[in-house]
Symmetry: C2
Subunit: 212 residues, 2 copies
Protein backbone atom coordinates (compact mmCIF):
# COMPACT_ATOMS: atom_id res chain seq x y z
CA UNK A 1 0.00 0.00 0.00
CA UNK A 2 1.78 3.06 -1.14
CA UNK A 3 1.25 6.49 0.23
CA UNK A 4 -0.75 8.36 -2.32
CA UNK A 5 -1.01 12.12 -2.37
CA UNK A 6 -3.54 13.15 -4.95
CA UNK A 7 -3.12 16.78 -4.00
CA UNK A 8 -0.14 18.50 -2.51
CA UNK A 9 -0.14 22.12 -1.53
CA UNK A 10 3.06 23.68 -0.32
CA UNK A 11 2.79 26.71 1.92
CA UNK A 12 5.79 28.44 0.38
CA UNK A 13 3.73 28.75 -2.81
CA UNK A 14 0.67 29.56 -0.85
CA UNK A 15 -2.28 31.76 -1.49
CA UNK A 16 -5.33 32.27 0.64
CA UNK A 17 -6.64 28.89 -0.39
CA UNK A 18 -3.66 26.98 0.92
CA UNK A 19 -3.73 28.81 4.23
CA UNK A 20 -7.42 28.01 4.52
CA UNK A 21 -6.64 24.35 3.83
CA UNK A 22 -3.86 24.44 6.43
CA UNK A 23 -6.16 25.99 9.03
CA UNK A 24 -8.89 23.46 8.29
CA UNK A 25 -6.54 20.53 8.83
CA UNK A 26 -5.11 22.07 12.00
CA UNK A 27 -8.53 22.97 13.40
CA UNK A 28 -9.89 19.46 12.83
CA UNK A 29 -7.47 17.97 15.36
CA UNK A 30 -5.92 18.25 18.79
CA UNK A 31 -3.11 15.70 18.55
CA UNK A 32 0.07 16.45 16.65
CA UNK A 33 3.42 14.74 16.38
CA UNK A 34 6.51 16.90 16.67
CA UNK A 35 9.82 15.95 15.12
CA UNK A 36 12.87 17.47 16.79
CA UNK A 37 16.47 16.60 17.48
CA UNK A 38 18.01 15.59 20.82
CA UNK A 39 21.78 14.99 20.88
CA UNK A 40 21.78 14.69 17.10
CA UNK A 41 19.04 12.06 17.10
CA UNK A 42 15.51 12.61 15.80
CA UNK A 43 12.60 12.27 18.20
CA UNK A 44 8.94 12.16 17.29
CA UNK A 45 6.65 12.94 20.21
CA UNK A 46 2.86 13.13 20.33
CA UNK A 47 1.36 16.12 22.07
CA UNK A 48 -1.82 18.17 22.20
CA UNK A 49 -1.78 21.40 20.19
CA UNK A 50 -4.09 24.15 19.11
CA UNK A 51 -4.19 27.00 16.62
CA UNK A 52 -4.93 30.60 17.51
CA UNK A 53 -4.86 32.94 14.51
CA UNK A 54 -1.52 32.68 12.73
CA UNK A 55 0.17 30.50 15.34
CA UNK A 56 0.13 27.01 16.76
CA UNK A 57 0.66 26.30 20.45
CA UNK A 58 1.53 23.31 22.59
CA UNK A 59 2.49 22.92 26.21
CA UNK A 60 3.65 20.67 28.97
CA UNK A 61 5.52 20.50 32.21
CA UNK A 62 8.26 23.07 32.73
CA UNK A 63 10.52 20.08 33.46
CA UNK A 64 9.71 18.47 30.09
CA UNK A 65 12.85 17.42 28.25
CA UNK A 66 10.87 17.58 25.03
CA UNK A 67 9.96 21.25 25.43
CA UNK A 68 13.50 22.15 26.48
CA UNK A 69 14.91 20.44 23.40
CA UNK A 70 12.40 22.16 21.12
CA UNK A 71 12.70 25.74 22.32
CA UNK A 72 14.56 27.78 19.71
CA UNK A 73 15.50 24.65 17.78
CA UNK A 74 14.14 23.52 14.41
CA UNK A 75 11.01 21.39 14.72
CA UNK A 76 8.46 19.86 12.39
CA UNK A 77 4.90 19.76 13.68
CA UNK A 78 2.61 17.36 11.84
CA UNK A 79 -1.14 16.76 12.11
CA UNK A 80 -2.70 13.84 10.24
CA UNK A 81 -6.31 12.75 9.81
CA UNK A 82 -6.87 9.41 8.10
CA UNK A 83 -10.20 9.56 6.27
CA UNK A 84 -10.25 6.12 4.67
CA UNK A 85 -8.24 3.05 3.82
CA UNK A 86 -8.21 2.41 0.09
CA UNK A 87 -8.85 -1.15 -1.07
CA UNK A 88 -7.68 -1.07 -4.67
CA UNK A 89 -7.67 -3.96 -7.13
CA UNK A 90 -3.91 -4.31 -6.63
CA UNK A 91 -1.73 -3.93 -3.57
CA UNK A 92 0.27 -1.30 -5.42
CA UNK A 93 -2.65 1.11 -5.62
CA UNK A 94 -3.99 0.32 -2.17
CA UNK A 95 -3.28 3.21 0.16
CA UNK A 96 -4.96 5.67 2.48
CA UNK A 97 -6.99 8.82 2.07
CA UNK A 98 -5.91 11.48 4.48
CA UNK A 99 -5.34 15.10 5.23
CA UNK A 100 -2.08 16.22 6.79
CA UNK A 101 -0.47 19.48 7.74
CA UNK A 102 3.24 19.85 8.28
CA UNK A 103 4.73 22.99 9.78
CA UNK A 104 8.40 23.88 10.15
CA UNK A 105 9.78 26.46 12.54
CA UNK A 106 11.70 27.28 15.69
CA UNK A 107 9.33 27.50 18.65
CA UNK A 108 9.48 30.30 21.15
CA UNK A 109 8.36 30.12 24.75
CA UNK A 110 5.58 32.36 26.04
CA UNK A 111 6.94 33.74 29.29
CA UNK A 112 4.18 36.11 30.38
CA UNK A 113 1.98 34.23 32.83
CA UNK A 114 -1.21 36.16 32.04
CA UNK A 115 -0.70 35.53 28.33
CA UNK A 116 -0.07 31.85 29.03
CA UNK A 117 -3.25 31.62 31.07
CA UNK A 118 -5.32 33.33 28.37
CA UNK A 119 -3.88 31.17 25.59
CA UNK A 120 -4.38 27.90 27.44
CA UNK A 121 -7.91 28.94 28.32
CA UNK A 122 -8.45 29.60 24.64
CA UNK A 123 -7.50 25.99 23.94
CA UNK A 124 -10.03 24.67 26.45
CA UNK A 125 -12.84 26.97 25.33
CA UNK A 126 -11.97 26.12 21.73
CA UNK A 127 -12.74 22.48 22.45
CA UNK A 128 -15.73 23.13 24.73
CA UNK A 129 -17.10 26.69 24.57
CA UNK A 130 -17.85 27.83 28.12
CA UNK A 131 -15.70 25.25 29.91
CA UNK A 132 -13.24 27.82 31.27
CA UNK A 133 -15.99 29.63 33.18
CA UNK A 134 -16.84 26.32 34.89
CA UNK A 135 -13.44 25.11 36.01
CA UNK A 136 -11.24 26.19 38.89
CA UNK A 137 -8.90 28.98 37.72
CA UNK A 138 -5.19 28.29 37.27
CA UNK A 139 -2.97 29.17 40.21
CA UNK A 140 0.29 31.11 39.89
CA UNK A 141 2.13 27.92 40.82
CA UNK A 142 0.43 25.95 38.07
CA UNK A 143 1.18 28.60 35.47
CA UNK A 144 4.80 28.64 36.56
CA UNK A 145 4.98 24.85 36.30
CA UNK A 146 3.70 24.93 32.71
CA UNK A 147 5.72 25.77 29.61
CA UNK A 148 3.89 27.03 26.57
CA UNK A 149 5.57 26.91 23.17
CA UNK A 150 4.43 28.57 19.95
CA UNK A 151 5.48 29.04 16.38
CA UNK A 152 3.96 30.91 13.47
CA UNK A 153 2.13 29.15 10.65
CA UNK A 154 4.83 29.78 8.09
CA UNK A 155 6.76 27.23 6.09
CA UNK A 156 4.91 23.99 5.67
CA UNK A 157 2.73 21.82 3.49
CA UNK A 158 -0.82 20.58 3.37
CA UNK A 159 -1.41 17.21 1.78
CA UNK A 160 -4.87 16.01 0.90
CA UNK A 161 -5.54 12.59 -0.59
CA UNK A 162 -9.13 11.89 -1.54
CA UNK A 163 -11.37 10.03 -3.93
CA UNK A 164 -12.03 6.41 -4.88
CA UNK A 165 -9.30 3.87 -5.67
CA UNK A 166 -7.09 4.87 -8.56
CA UNK A 167 -6.43 1.57 -10.27
CA UNK A 168 -4.66 0.71 -13.50
CA UNK A 169 -7.15 1.15 -16.32
CA UNK A 170 -7.11 -2.55 -17.26
CA UNK A 171 -7.77 -3.59 -13.65
CA UNK A 172 -11.18 -1.90 -13.32
CA UNK A 173 -12.91 -4.69 -15.20
CA UNK A 174 -11.56 -7.39 -12.86
CA UNK A 175 -14.12 -9.09 -10.59
CA UNK A 176 -12.40 -7.74 -7.45
CA UNK A 177 -14.17 -5.77 -4.77
CA UNK A 178 -12.61 -2.30 -4.51
CA UNK A 179 -13.55 0.77 -2.57
CA UNK A 180 -12.93 2.78 0.54
CA UNK A 181 -13.10 1.75 4.15
CA UNK A 182 -13.94 5.08 5.81
CA UNK A 183 -12.20 5.98 9.06
CA UNK A 184 -13.90 8.30 11.51
CA UNK A 185 -12.99 9.60 14.93
CA UNK A 186 -15.94 9.56 17.31
CA UNK A 187 -16.01 11.51 20.58
CA UNK A 188 -18.27 10.56 23.45
CA UNK A 189 -20.45 9.76 25.22
CA UNK A 190 -19.01 11.62 28.24
CA UNK A 191 -18.07 9.39 31.19
CA UNK A 192 -18.51 11.19 34.54
CA UNK A 193 -15.66 11.03 37.05
CA UNK A 194 -16.43 8.44 39.76
CA UNK A 195 -15.83 11.21 42.31
CA UNK A 196 -18.17 13.74 40.67
CA UNK A 197 -19.83 15.96 43.31
CA UNK A 198 -23.49 15.10 43.79
CA UNK A 199 -26.02 16.77 41.52
CA UNK A 200 -23.59 18.23 38.98
CA UNK A 201 -25.32 18.11 35.59
CA UNK A 202 -23.68 17.46 32.25
CA UNK A 203 -22.70 20.90 30.90
CA UNK A 204 -24.37 22.17 27.74
CA UNK A 205 -21.07 22.12 25.83
CA UNK A 206 -20.87 18.34 26.31
CA UNK A 207 -24.45 17.62 25.19
CA UNK A 208 -23.44 17.27 21.50
CA UNK A 209 -21.20 14.35 22.56
CA UNK A 210 -23.86 12.59 24.67
CA UNK A 211 -24.87 10.24 21.88
CA UNK A 212 -21.27 9.22 21.22
CA UNK B 1 -3.94 20.73 29.52
CA UNK B 2 -0.73 19.03 30.35
CA UNK B 3 0.41 15.76 28.92
CA UNK B 4 -0.06 13.21 31.63
CA UNK B 5 1.64 9.84 31.55
CA UNK B 6 0.28 7.73 34.38
CA UNK B 7 2.42 4.82 33.25
CA UNK B 8 5.66 4.82 31.40
CA UNK B 9 7.43 1.67 30.33
CA UNK B 10 10.81 1.94 28.75
CA UNK B 11 11.89 -0.84 26.49
CA UNK B 12 15.50 -0.76 27.67
CA UNK B 13 14.24 -1.97 31.05
CA UNK B 14 11.88 -4.28 29.37
CA UNK B 15 10.60 -7.71 30.23
CA UNK B 16 7.99 -9.75 28.45
CA UNK B 17 5.28 -7.46 29.73
CA UNK B 18 6.73 -4.37 28.14
CA UNK B 19 7.22 -6.05 24.81
CA UNK B 20 3.64 -7.29 24.93
CA UNK B 21 2.49 -3.73 25.63
CA UNK B 22 4.61 -2.44 22.74
CA UNK B 23 3.16 -5.03 20.36
CA UNK B 24 -0.38 -4.27 21.49
CA UNK B 25 0.05 -0.55 20.76
CA UNK B 26 1.70 -1.23 17.40
CA UNK B 27 -0.89 -3.81 16.36
CA UNK B 28 -3.79 -1.48 17.20
CA UNK B 29 -2.79 0.97 14.46
CA UNK B 30 -1.71 1.43 10.87
CA UNK B 31 -0.60 5.07 10.87
CA UNK B 32 2.70 6.12 12.39
CA UNK B 33 4.69 9.32 12.34
CA UNK B 34 8.39 9.05 11.66
CA UNK B 35 10.89 11.63 12.87
CA UNK B 36 14.09 11.85 10.82
CA UNK B 37 16.62 14.43 9.76
CA UNK B 38 17.05 16.00 6.32
CA UNK B 39 19.94 18.45 5.86
CA UNK B 40 20.20 18.81 9.63
CA UNK B 41 16.51 19.65 10.00
CA UNK B 42 13.93 17.41 11.66
CA UNK B 43 11.02 16.12 9.60
CA UNK B 44 7.94 14.36 10.90
CA UNK B 45 6.08 12.41 8.24
CA UNK B 46 2.94 10.28 8.52
CA UNK B 47 3.02 6.89 6.88
CA UNK B 48 1.36 3.50 7.03
CA UNK B 49 3.29 0.82 8.93
CA UNK B 50 2.86 -2.71 10.17
CA UNK B 51 4.52 -5.13 12.56
CA UNK B 52 5.65 -8.63 11.67
CA UNK B 53 7.25 -10.48 14.57
CA UNK B 54 10.15 -8.48 15.98
CA UNK B 55 10.18 -5.83 13.26
CA UNK B 56 8.20 -2.90 11.96
CA UNK B 57 7.85 -2.13 8.26
CA UNK B 58 6.82 0.82 6.13
CA UNK B 59 7.03 1.52 2.43
CA UNK B 60 6.56 3.98 -0.35
CA UNK B 61 7.70 4.99 -3.77
CA UNK B 62 11.29 4.19 -4.67
CA UNK B 63 11.59 7.89 -5.55
CA UNK B 64 10.45 8.95 -2.08
CA UNK B 65 12.79 11.52 -0.56
CA UNK B 66 11.54 10.47 2.86
CA UNK B 67 12.61 6.85 2.44
CA UNK B 68 15.97 7.87 0.97
CA UNK B 69 16.63 10.15 3.94
CA UNK B 70 15.61 7.47 6.43
CA UNK B 71 17.59 4.52 5.11
CA UNK B 72 20.52 3.80 7.43
CA UNK B 73 19.92 7.03 9.33
CA UNK B 74 18.54 7.39 12.86
CA UNK B 75 14.76 7.60 12.96
CA UNK B 76 12.05 7.66 15.59
CA UNK B 77 8.83 5.87 14.70
CA UNK B 78 5.85 6.80 16.85
CA UNK B 79 2.34 5.38 17.03
CA UNK B 80 -0.30 7.12 19.14
CA UNK B 81 -3.87 6.20 20.01
CA UNK B 82 -5.88 8.83 21.87
CA UNK B 83 -8.45 7.03 24.05
CA UNK B 84 -10.08 10.00 25.76
CA UNK B 85 -9.87 13.69 26.46
CA UNK B 86 -9.76 14.37 30.19
CA UNK B 87 -12.01 17.13 31.52
CA UNK B 88 -10.57 17.76 34.96
CA UNK B 89 -11.79 20.31 37.49
CA UNK B 90 -8.84 22.54 36.61
CA UNK B 91 -7.12 23.24 33.31
CA UNK B 92 -3.86 22.09 34.85
CA UNK B 93 -5.06 18.52 35.29
CA UNK B 94 -7.00 18.41 32.03
CA UNK B 95 -5.16 16.24 29.55
CA UNK B 96 -5.58 13.19 27.36
CA UNK B 97 -5.61 9.46 27.90
CA UNK B 98 -3.60 7.68 25.30
CA UNK B 99 -1.32 4.85 24.37
CA UNK B 100 1.83 5.53 22.44
CA UNK B 101 4.78 3.52 21.22
CA UNK B 102 8.08 5.11 20.25
CA UNK B 103 10.81 3.13 18.51
CA UNK B 104 14.33 4.24 17.71
CA UNK B 105 16.56 2.67 15.11
CA UNK B 106 18.26 2.86 11.74
CA UNK B 107 16.03 1.39 9.05
CA UNK B 108 17.34 -1.04 6.46
CA UNK B 109 15.89 -1.58 3.02
CA UNK B 110 14.55 -4.96 1.98
CA UNK B 111 16.07 -5.56 -1.45
CA UNK B 112 14.84 -9.05 -2.28
CA UNK B 113 11.72 -8.65 -4.42
CA UNK B 114 10.09 -11.93 -3.35
CA UNK B 115 10.60 -11.00 0.30
CA UNK B 116 9.17 -7.52 -0.36
CA UNK B 117 6.12 -9.04 -2.01
CA UNK B 118 5.54 -11.49 0.85
CA UNK B 119 5.96 -8.81 3.51
CA UNK B 120 3.64 -6.33 1.81
CA UNK B 121 1.07 -9.08 1.29
CA UNK B 122 1.36 -9.78 5.00
CA UNK B 123 0.37 -6.18 5.69
CA UNK B 124 -2.73 -6.44 3.52
CA UNK B 125 -3.80 -9.82 4.88
CA UNK B 126 -3.10 -8.54 8.39
CA UNK B 127 -5.72 -5.86 7.86
CA UNK B 128 -8.18 -8.02 5.89
CA UNK B 129 -7.48 -11.76 6.09
CA UNK B 130 -7.93 -13.25 2.64
CA UNK B 131 -7.62 -9.99 0.70
CA UNK B 132 -4.35 -10.95 -1.02
CA UNK B 133 -5.97 -13.97 -2.66
CA UNK B 134 -8.60 -11.64 -4.17
CA UNK B 135 -6.45 -8.88 -5.62
CA UNK B 136 -4.32 -8.75 -8.73
CA UNK B 137 -0.77 -9.91 -7.94
CA UNK B 138 2.07 -7.39 -7.87
CA UNK B 139 4.10 -7.07 -11.05
CA UNK B 140 7.90 -7.03 -11.15
CA UNK B 141 7.71 -3.39 -12.19
CA UNK B 142 5.53 -2.50 -9.20
CA UNK B 143 7.83 -4.31 -6.78
CA UNK B 144 10.81 -2.50 -8.26
CA UNK B 145 9.03 0.85 -7.90
CA UNK B 146 8.37 0.24 -4.20
CA UNK B 147 10.87 0.65 -1.39
CA UNK B 148 10.31 -1.29 1.81
CA UNK B 149 12.05 -0.22 5.00
CA UNK B 150 12.29 -2.11 8.27
CA UNK B 151 13.82 -1.86 11.69
CA UNK B 152 13.80 -4.17 14.70
CA UNK B 153 11.65 -3.50 17.73
CA UNK B 154 14.56 -2.59 19.96
CA UNK B 155 15.11 0.65 21.81
CA UNK B 156 11.89 2.47 22.53
CA UNK B 157 9.19 3.30 25.00
CA UNK B 158 5.54 2.53 25.55
CA UNK B 159 3.48 5.16 27.31
CA UNK B 160 0.01 4.43 28.59
CA UNK B 161 -2.14 7.05 30.26
CA UNK B 162 -5.45 5.82 31.63
CA UNK B 163 -8.04 6.34 34.32
CA UNK B 164 -10.39 9.12 35.43
CA UNK B 165 -9.28 12.73 35.98
CA UNK B 166 -6.56 13.09 38.60
CA UNK B 167 -7.54 16.31 40.31
CA UNK B 168 -6.12 18.08 43.35
CA UNK B 169 -7.71 16.50 46.41
CA UNK B 170 -9.47 19.71 47.46
CA UNK B 171 -10.97 20.15 43.99
CA UNK B 172 -13.01 16.93 43.96
CA UNK B 173 -15.72 18.49 46.12
CA UNK B 174 -16.23 21.42 43.73
CA UNK B 175 -19.51 21.49 41.79
CA UNK B 176 -17.71 21.11 38.46
CA UNK B 177 -18.50 18.43 35.91
CA UNK B 178 -15.41 16.26 35.39
CA UNK B 179 -14.83 13.07 33.49
CA UNK B 180 -13.62 11.60 30.26
CA UNK B 181 -14.71 12.28 26.71
CA UNK B 182 -13.89 8.94 25.06
CA UNK B 183 -12.30 8.98 21.61
CA UNK B 184 -12.81 6.02 19.29
CA UNK B 185 -11.75 5.27 15.75
CA UNK B 186 -14.53 3.71 13.72
CA UNK B 187 -13.94 1.92 10.41
CA UNK B 188 -16.67 1.46 7.84
CA UNK B 189 -19.12 0.96 6.35
CA UNK B 190 -17.28 0.03 3.13
CA UNK B 191 -17.95 2.32 0.16
CA UNK B 192 -17.77 0.47 -3.17
CA UNK B 193 -15.73 2.00 -5.97
CA UNK B 194 -18.00 3.73 -8.51
CA UNK B 195 -16.34 1.59 -11.18
CA UNK B 196 -16.84 -1.74 -9.38
CA UNK B 197 -17.40 -4.57 -11.87
CA UNK B 198 -20.99 -5.75 -11.93
CA UNK B 199 -22.04 -8.41 -9.46
CA UNK B 200 -18.94 -8.32 -7.26
CA UNK B 201 -20.12 -9.00 -3.70
CA UNK B 202 -18.69 -7.50 -0.52
CA UNK B 203 -15.94 -9.89 0.60
CA UNK B 204 -16.34 -11.74 3.90
CA UNK B 205 -13.35 -9.94 5.42
CA UNK B 206 -15.19 -6.62 5.04
CA UNK B 207 -18.46 -7.81 6.58
CA UNK B 208 -17.37 -6.87 10.12
CA UNK B 209 -17.10 -3.25 8.93
CA UNK B 210 -20.48 -3.19 7.20
CA UNK B 211 -22.23 -1.59 10.16
CA UNK B 212 -19.59 1.13 10.46
Amino acid sequence: MKTDFSRLRRMHERGRYDRAAMDAVLDAGYLCHIGYVVDGRPCCTPTLYWRDGDRVYWHGSRASRMLKAQRGAPVCLTVTHVDALVLARSGFHSSARYRSAMLFGRPEMIEDEAAKDALMNGFIDGLWPGRVADIRAATAKELKATSLLTMPIGEGAVKISEGPPGDDEEDYALPIWAGLLPVATVLGPPQPCPRLAEGVPLPDYLRPFAKG
